[in-house]
């Protein structure tokens, strides 16, 4: 096998494959059973291992989880920016704006990328090409999707710079990235992401690389721009405070799976999954002064040796017998409120301990140990 891959890889899933029915028209993004694996030297990493969520038009969703839980890989898979190989989209469907985009040829996905869905990256310092002016780079995004003159694309770039609150945008557009501060560059990235009026904006930890005072400004800007343009927002973050301030709904990810979804208010105030509960109780301000901080015991499981049952089981203070052998699927508690924990299932629906688990439980088909 060659050591280098084509910039965009090949279409990972056979075209014309069978897919499920399209989601309702008001659902902009519907991710179903998505699995993205990476084949590396030491084996296979299931970075995303069965992720389901929906995002309605104009809605904001926060995807929350710690480093390495697969939230960035999820977003890169939606954008079709995963290098194949080493990556592989093993299973799943991604419905975007009425189309199943994993079946589309690469050339088609490039038309969607930047036009209908776009992305704000984590590192504004390195996400702009040092040899071109920022105006040029925004104009390039416009020209990639619209039949416009250079002048028109440039004017659009200036307009977007003004829209994201950059003073004297005509002059700023002529500047190079190194002449702008980190906050300014992130504003430029936001302007670029919104330059073609996308329906979906994915913001992958947009404030992580910025200092705290700028973080609030950028979040405020993203929220304001989302409201002014009516785009849906998928905000990826590990910061619960950011989620609480910015999004309507949230999904919590752990070890490649979504463990809980719901409105931000519901999830933060009444977490159903022990992992979410652990996250919230470990927020330092929840602990009285002078006391030890709460932590979630243990570490994230080794990606090469995922637990057979619930992935949180080894660290879970509430784990009981079925958790070790069966991985709980997401259970809908209320409309839009779901959690993947056996504690949320009525007794009759829980797998009965060790022996019964191996029998015909549908959930055990996803056992990881088989790999």
């Amino acid at each position: 096998m060659s050591t280098v891959v084509d910039l965009e890889g090949v279409s990972p899933v056979a075209e014309g494959r069978a897919v499920g029915p399209p989601p309702p028209a008001d659902v902009l993004l519907d991710v179903r059973g998505l699995k993205t694996y990476f084949h590396v030297m030491d084996g296979t990493v299931a970075a995303v291992d069965g992720v389901d969520f929906q995002l309605k038009r104009g809605e904001t969703l926060g995807l929350v989880g710690e480093s390495g839980c697969g939230k960035s890989v999820t977003s890169l898979t939606i954008m079709r920016l995963i290098d194949i190989p080493p990556g592989e989209i093993v299973a799943g469907e991604i419905w975007f704006d009425g189309r199943e985009i994993l079946s589309l040829p690469m050339a088609e996905t490039r038309k969607i990328r930047g036009a209908d869905m776009s992305m704000i990256f984590q590192e504004p310092m390195t996400s702009l090409n040092p040899v071109f002016t920022v105006g040029n780079q925004i104009a390039e995004a416009v020209k990639a999707h619209r039949q416009v003159s250079n002048r028109g694309a440039w004017n659009r770039a200036v307009e977007m710079l003004a829209a994201v609150g950059i003073p004297s945008p005509e002059q700023r557009a002529k500047q190079y990235p190194h002449e702008l501060s980190g906050g300014m560059r992130q504003r430029v990235m936001i302007a670029m992401a919104l330059s073609c009026d996308p329906k979906l904006v994915i913001a992958d930890e947009p404030t992580t690389a910025l200092d705290v005072t700028i973080q609030a400004q950028i979040l405020e800007l993203i929220k304001a721009m989302q409201q002014r343009t009516g785009a849906a927002l998928l905000l990826i973050t590990h910061d619960l405070a950011v989620v609480a301030e910015t999004v309507q709904r949230m999904a919590v990810m752990y070890a490649g799976k979504i463990v809980e979804t719901g409105t931000a208010e519901d999830v933060l105030l009444d977490p159903k999954h022990p992992y979410t509960q652990g996250l919230i109780t470990s927020i330092p301000s929840n602990v009285p002064r002078g006391q030890r901080l709460n932590v979630i015991r243990g570490t994230v499981p080794n990606p090469f040796r995922m637990p057979v049952g619930c992935r949180f089981e080894p660290r879970c203070p509430l784990a009981f017998e079925p958790c070790r052998d069966s991985d709980p699927p997401l259970r809908t508690l209320d409309p839009g409120r779901r959690a993947a924990c056996w504690l949320q299932y009525p007794l009759s629906e829980r797998p009965a301990g060790r022996d019964a688990a191996a029998s015909s439980q549908p959930v055990t088909t996803e056992r990881v140990a088989k790999r």
Binding site: S2, F121, A162, R228
Partner: protein
């Protein structure tokens, strides 16, 4: 939610407009003197003292190579015959002395300059152009193409220099300058190609390339607009150093009588001729052409050093 307003831009692009963000507080305007990467590099280069010394010396050498033959006191083709066995030492008539045929060494050095410089320059240009094209294709395409091209590079490194010069002499005539330029260029493009490929492999993993992909920029555009300009810095530095080493290489193959025809005045030939005189203590035959080579190479290397510092992307003003 505010409805998008219609503007002239919207009319032009067909994209709904977004109104400007409300301005808060007082804006402090900064001076907006905008310098691009190349202008910044030039500014850093001009602050590099060694590089400026190198540039001055090298410019002087180029100037002498161009106007020197016109104002040189003697005709290089004129062979007056030696007044003394082994030539005259430096004197007021002959600043660098004369050789065993009575030719003025200064005239030879000045006339040799343009051949040495031309060989250095053009062979490097060939190596550079071929290397950049091949390296870019290999780095951008990857897979089989990359593997194949890199094996071709390996082959070019395996070909013996002198053997290829002999072969080239068959096609271009013994001692042809074009033959030397082609042979040097064709043996050395692999060096540049490897460098360009390595640059491509690392640059395509950068955030700004991913960001460009995320807004739907085509592969071709990413290769030529985003990766190539960023890959050129180190390539320019290596090409500078390659030019210096090719000037030495020309002297070396001429010294071995594989180079430019012995009747031409080149630095290598001057050194080659001086072999006979070394035993007699006639140092001036070898010293002045040797100094010319050394001075040229050192000045170019200083320039290369300055370029290296100036083009280093991590360097700040």
């Amino acid at each position: 939610m505010t409805l998008p307003i219609q503007s002239s831009v919207a009319a032009e692009t067909g994209i709904p407009s977004v109104e400007p963000a409300p301005r808060e507080g007082v804006d402090v305007e900064v001076s907006l003197e905008s310098l691009n990467q190349w202008q910044l590099a030039l500014r850093r280069f001009l602050r590099h003292k060694m590089a400026l010394v190198g540039l001055t010396v090298f410019s002087a050498i180029v100037l002498i190579a161009i106007i020197g033959p016109i104002v040189a006191p003697y005709n290089p083709l004129n062979i007056p015959g030696a007044t003394r066995m082994g030539g005259d030492p430096p004197s007021l008539q002959h600043l660098f002395g004369t050789d065993d045929a009575g030719r003025d060494v200064y005239t030879n050095v000045v006339n040799g300059a343009h051949i040495s410089l031309a060989i250095g320059l053009f062979s490097t240009l060939i190596a550079g152009i071929v290397g950049i094209i091949v390296g870019a294709i290999a780095g951008a395409a990857g897979g089989f193409t990359d593997n194949f091209l890199m094996r071709v590079v390996d082959v070019t490194f395996a070909v013996p220099l002198l053997f290829l010069i002999l072969v080239a002499a068959v096609f271009f005539g013994q001692g042809s300058m074009i033959a030397l330029i082609l042979v040097f260029g064709l043996l050395q493009w692999g060096l540049i190609a490897r460098l360009v490929r390595a640059q491509f492999l690392s640059l395509r993993e950068t955030d700004f390339v991913e960001a460009a992909r995320a807004v739907g920029v085509s592969n071709l555009r990413i290769t030529f607009r985003h990766i190539l300009p960023n890959a050129l810095g180190p390539v320019i530095v290596v090409m500078t150093l390659l030019m210096a080493s090719n000037i030495v290489l020309e002297a070396f193959v001429s010294f071995l009588n594989f180079g430019i025809a012995a009747t031409e005045a080149t630095w290598g030939n001057a050194l080659s001729n001086s072999q006979n005189a070394m035993g007699d203590g006639n140092w001036w035959w070898a010293f002045f052409p040797g100094m010319a080579i050394a001075l040229t190479v050192i000045s170019i290397n200083f320039i290369g050093d300055g370029l290296h510092d100036a083009l280093d992307p991590r360097a700040r003003l």
